[in-house]
Every structure is written in C-alpha cells, then in structure tokens.
Subunit: 425 residues, 2 copies
Amino acid sequence: MELDRQDNAAPAPVPPPRRRFLARGAASLAAAGGAVSGAASAADNLPPNVPQWMRAPGAGFLNPPYGQPSPFEKHVVRKLPEQPAAFPTATRTPLQSLFGTTTPNGLFFERHHAGVPAIDPDQHRLMVHGLVDRPLLLTMKDLLRFPAVSRSHFIECSGNSMAEFKAPGKGTVQDIHGLLSGAEWTGVRLADVLREAGLQPSASWILAEGADAAAMTRSIPLAKALDDALLAYGQNGEMLRPEQGYPLRLLLPGYEGNMNIKWLRRLKVGDAPFQTREETSKYTDLMPDGTARQFTFVMGVKSVITTPSARQVLDGHGFREIGGLAWSGHGRIARVEVSLDGGRRWQEAALDGPVQPRALTRFRFPWVWTGQEAILQSRAVDEAGNVQPTRAALIASDGQNSIYHYNAIQSWKVASNGEVSNVHV
Amino acid sequence: MELDRQDNAAPAPVPPPRRRFLARGAASLAAAGGAVSGAASAADNLPPNVPQWMRAPGAGFLNPPYGQPSPFEKHVVRKLPEQPAAFPTATRTPLQSLFGTTTPNGLFFERHHAGVPAIDPDQHRLMVHGLVDRPLLLTMKDLLRFPAVSRSHFIECSGNSMAEFKAPGKGTVQDIHGLLSGAEWTGVRLADVLREAGLQPSASWILAEGADAAAMTRSIPLAKALDDALLAYGQNGEMLRPEQGYPLRLLLPGYEGNMNIKWLRRLKVGDAPFQTREETSKYTDLMPDGTARQFTFVMGVKSVITTPSARQVLDGHGFREIGGLAWSGHGRIARVEVSLDGGRRWQEAALDGPVQPRALTRFRFPWVWTGQEAILQSRAVDEAGNVQPTRAALIASDGQNSIYHYNAIQSWKVASNGEVSNVHV
C-alpha cells in the first residue's frame, strides 16, 4: 500500500455528516458489487466475485522461517539520500509508511562510520577500566545474567534534518527527517555494571568505544551513565541487528544518536572528557560568532507530520486524519498542537498512550479537506516546558552554520490539487 | 547468542556480595587480558588484542535495504512442532530467545487453515452487510482514511499448550507454549465502521470471513465489536505480514487466536450466531460429561517462565534473573508470583511497565542458584481477580478431553547439574 500517493483524481464532494469518514462515499454494494477482484473461471462453480486467492490454498509454513514483508510493500525500505554524498553515511527510515511508535528493526535508520562489523558474540568482550576499583572483562553471557530492563526510546541522529537550515529539501519526509527511529530496548543498567566495577571518587566521565573499524568514541557524563543509560542487547524483542550494534550497544536515552555507541567494547572511567575526534572536529555546533558549542548532548523537542507529507497527493476531498510523531530528549511529550494555516491558529492534537519518556509519541488530528490550500504544521511541547521553535526562531538563536540539532517546526504546503510539498514559511 | 545453553561447566562458587551479578566472577583484566579475540597480524601495527572486525571497514549500507538479523542468530526462528502432524497447522514463536514484550513480525506465530493467500491490497475489499442501514464495500484506501488507533495486544491460539492436558511435552518453551505472540497493532475501530454502516435494532452478532481458501469464518458478539475490536492493517509499525492477514485482519483483544480473522473480506451483521464449522465441529471444549462448551471466547489468565526453561542448561551457580511473560484476555495483569519449590512458597515478581490490558507483560525475579534442585513456577493474577490455576485444578474442572484453553501453571525442574526440564507436579 502507498498512502495518498496513488492518484490525483478529481475531488469528490464533501460527504454527508452521517458518513463523514468515507471521503469518496465508499461504494455501495449495489453500485460496486462486481468490484471484488478475481476473474471467474467457467470451469468452477464459484460465484464470479470470489477472488483468485480464495480458489486454492496459499503458501505453506516456514516460507521463510524468519518472516518477511509482503512483496506489495517492497517500496517500504530504508534509503540513502536522494543526492548521495561521495561517501554515503546513513540510510533513512520511511516515516511516511509507518504506524504507531515502533520502527521495525529492518527499517531502523543506519549511521555508521566504518561499515557494519560482523561480530561473533561469543568472542565479543566489554572491558570496564580506568577509575574503578575492579576492572572487568565481560562476556555477553555475563551481561545476559545481569538484571534486565526493557524500555521504549527514540534514537535521532544529531544531523537529522540538517539541510533544512539552508533550504527546503525536495524529498519525502523519509529524505528530510528519516534519521529517526524508535524501539523497545532491552539491556543491563549501566549503573549496575559500574557498581560491580566500583567507581573511584574522582570518576566523572566515561569514554565509550565501539568495536568497528572506526573505533567510534565519545565521552559520556557520569550522571547520565548512572541515570537511565543501558547496555542494550535487545531491540524490539530480539537481539540487536548488526547495523544497530550487535551484540551490544550503549543506549543514552534522548542523547545524540552518535553517542549511543554501537558494537560497544570498552568503557573507560575518567575524571574529564576525553576530547575524542567525534567531539572536537565533529559533532560540535558552529555558532554565528564563530565559536562552537561542545557537548550538546540532548536532542531537543521536535515533531513532524508524516501523513500527509511531502510528495504525497491527497486522494480526494473529505475526512482524513493528520498524523505524525513527536519526541524530546528532555522527557515526555506534554502536548502537540497542529496548525492548518501556517501557524496563525493552533489546535491541540490527540496523543496515543501510554506516553513514555524520551520515546516516540504518535499524535492525531482530524481534518476535513475541502480543496483549500493549506500549510500544515505541528508543534510539540515537552514535560520540561520546552517548545519546538519556528525555523526563524531557531536560526535567530543558532544561525545557519551548524548542521546539528535542527528541531524547527516543519511546514507542509497542500496545494488545491492535493499535492503536498516542503516549504519554509 | 543462545541463553543458558552453551555449556555445562563445573559450577563456580557463589560470588561475593559486592559482585553478586557476576556469576563466574567475570575475568579480571590481569587474568584475561588476552581473551579479546582476533589474531594479530605481524604485518600491521595494531596491538594483538584488536579483534578482526576492527581491522577493516565492515559491510556497507542497504545490504539489504530491509534489514535482517545477524547470521549468529539464525537459530532464532519460528518452527513446526517437534513431532509434526501429517498436515502441520502452525509454527511457534521462540519465546526462550526473546526480550521485552514485542514479538518481531518475522517471529510472530502462524496458524492458518489453507495457507497464506497472496493478496493485492489494491484489489482487496471489505464488505459490510446484513442488518445495516447502508451496506458498504470498502477499499484499503477507504480504511486508511478512518481515524486510526494503535494498541499493544497479545494473540494466543486457543490450542496453545494443548499437549499439556495429557503429559509433559519434551520440547522447549517454544514447542510447548509458542502459539503466543504480542505486537503493537494499528487499525480502525470496528465500532467506527459499524457506525458508518448503521446498525439495525436487532443486530447482535457479526460474521467475520477471511479471504483465504478456507474462507475462515467466526461469529463475533456485537458487544465485543463495539468495545475494543480493531480492523487492523498495521503490526509493529508496518503493514501486516502476509501470514498475519495482509492487508487486513480482525483484532479481538484477548479472544481466541482463530477469531482474529485474517485476510478479512466480509462482515455480516445478524441477530444470532452463525454456527460456522469453526464454532460447531471445531473450537468447542469437550467436557468430562460429554457436553461441549461453545463460544468460549476469552483466553484465560496465564504465565510462563521463559528463562530458564526446558532444555536449557544453567551455565554455573550464582545470580541469574528468572524472567517470563504473563497475559490475560480479561484485562491487565495485576501481579505475578514465582515459586522456587513447586508451589509451596510464592514470592511476588517485578512487572515491566507500562502494563497494558490484554497485552504481554514481562515479569522478573532475582535468583541465586547454589546448585540445589528446584521446581520453578509462575502464577499470574489479572485485574479481574482471575488466578492462573494449577494443572490439577484445571483438570478437575475441565477434564482432559478438551484441547483448548489450557492455562495451568507451568513447572520447570532444575536438576542439580543445571538441566531444565518440563514436569507435571
């Protein structure tokens, strides 16, 4: 299925109130009785409207034993940017095709710095050393015996939506904002492992290192490590996928994606940040005055309408639900407001529950489209009181030099012919 | 990774209290410094303990675009029963390998009556007729424009665990109880669609029919249809998988799995049950007195310990977490208790939140195993006050003729050598 992308038919009249959800007055049986597909065979006794897939048994079991999506969904995949860099660094999640708040593991966005290592979990080790009383070398079996915890959290690349600092991207919401996904993670509290190792009094930062060929490293404040950080081995019920850090990744809920170190092999406890390449030359935010902000860990409050969104075409007038995702690195989403007129008037959207901290939250807003031009926006507010800024306000404060932490309100223009496009207003 | 199945090494001593989670006293760096894998090449300048996967970039992007599990997880798949029937009818979920409460779509159990139809969603229709004011023929696009709702719910085959009525099964928890899975479902409230059609005053039952070659049919009480029933098209964030009803299934939270009609094509509203084959000759419960219970819709309160479970071998003494799943068709799980001695003494387990109605709930219980024989049990209680029965109590009330609705307490025996087996106590 593709939502809202199939046709550009002449709009139908607004439906009467008693059937307000059926935009094109779904066919009555009298009018559309023959519409059920499946050519009748003169040789059988089935009535002509029995579809072909009811005429013989379908595919059998374990085909394959690890199941796959329908061939009719083959367009729902991760993808590289439309204008790929010389060295592509990320694939994006098809937000426009997803429901609810779970990103299937096969569609979870990817960002890696030296490809995906093929790690044998029986050979993988996590070293914990530095300012600890008892340095540890842990196997995966050791970690699987610790108390486990499962929690839903989003991960967003700090460079998500970066092109919007400059000009409105021409792609879909996947191209523009698709470095964002959500999952139910399972793992060990980092605090429990640090307690096993015994922190020395001067401990205040932790270096986390990945077992990829980039040996990706970041410095983590101890307070975060002791708060809600996980050593995650499970994602959406099963072991992590290779591109998500199999067999072990650091999970720092709400922090920049790159800090959730994948293929985690080493934690070194220190008394100061380690000033790695990824926090000096990279992942800093260049301000208008030429200085750079360092250690801007938390991903700001943000939301985006995914249905309808850019490059979709509304398939007729009438009722449709505006839907999207909201998230904040600061905690729970408190509310989401929707505007149909480019931000002049705001109305509160409904949130799907349970709303969880630092997790994707789905919002919904009912809309009857009568063919008028519209500028659709969503604005999220989190429980800490942070309000998603307009693009103008974000640029006024942070300028346009940075490529990270873009969290401005997204505007989708709906033209009178139903075409949806990305605009800066 | 396989949990608790790798070895049968001599048990280590109980760890000291300050390192109580590390059963075998995870190697100190001094003792195990060379254990990190990867043979050093004399030709490079890397230290000898750099693993092979850090020595060169790994696999690139979109490989494949819809991601797959690690090759090291190839044993985590659905499977047919160990002693398959002449005509196998179901595959089972590997509960012993899963975390949290999400079953990945590729591992969701299967039960179908005439194979998996390959349905083109653009040709699929849902007919709503019978005692309605306005019969409807709905396309998938029509349904996708209705207000959507996402909720987590389990589905359990009413025949799950059926062999346990007779004798303890020899397989794993997957073989014994694996006709159980959980997902986040997205779809349209059936109540909204029925409101569009307009129910006539005598409406009280609904026939639901699938578009498979079996034309699977069941009668649904109207009260359930108007309560929490969904016309589901989404599962764990993406469109349903073919074997789960693509593109549309009925979801009746907490009801027998077979009533959640897959490939849903028709809803006929009537004033009495339709007495289909699946509710007369099948899916009835034969009682000791020779009568049969009909329309036993709701799946009872139930739980099972998945870690450790049958055919696993505990890999040494010390701390480990007992973990499992609880669920009830009557509502939320209120509490789960764990016994280590075959039901003489019970202690309350911790529940992972948020606990949702008619959804899988993960429970955890800390355990230090010192090598003694143990009989592990879990007992769930739901918010309606239903208590999971012992096997003896279930058989005393329902006999051993039925093959459906087995929800008795499961007992796993842990032998002194660490081997876990299924026993009836």
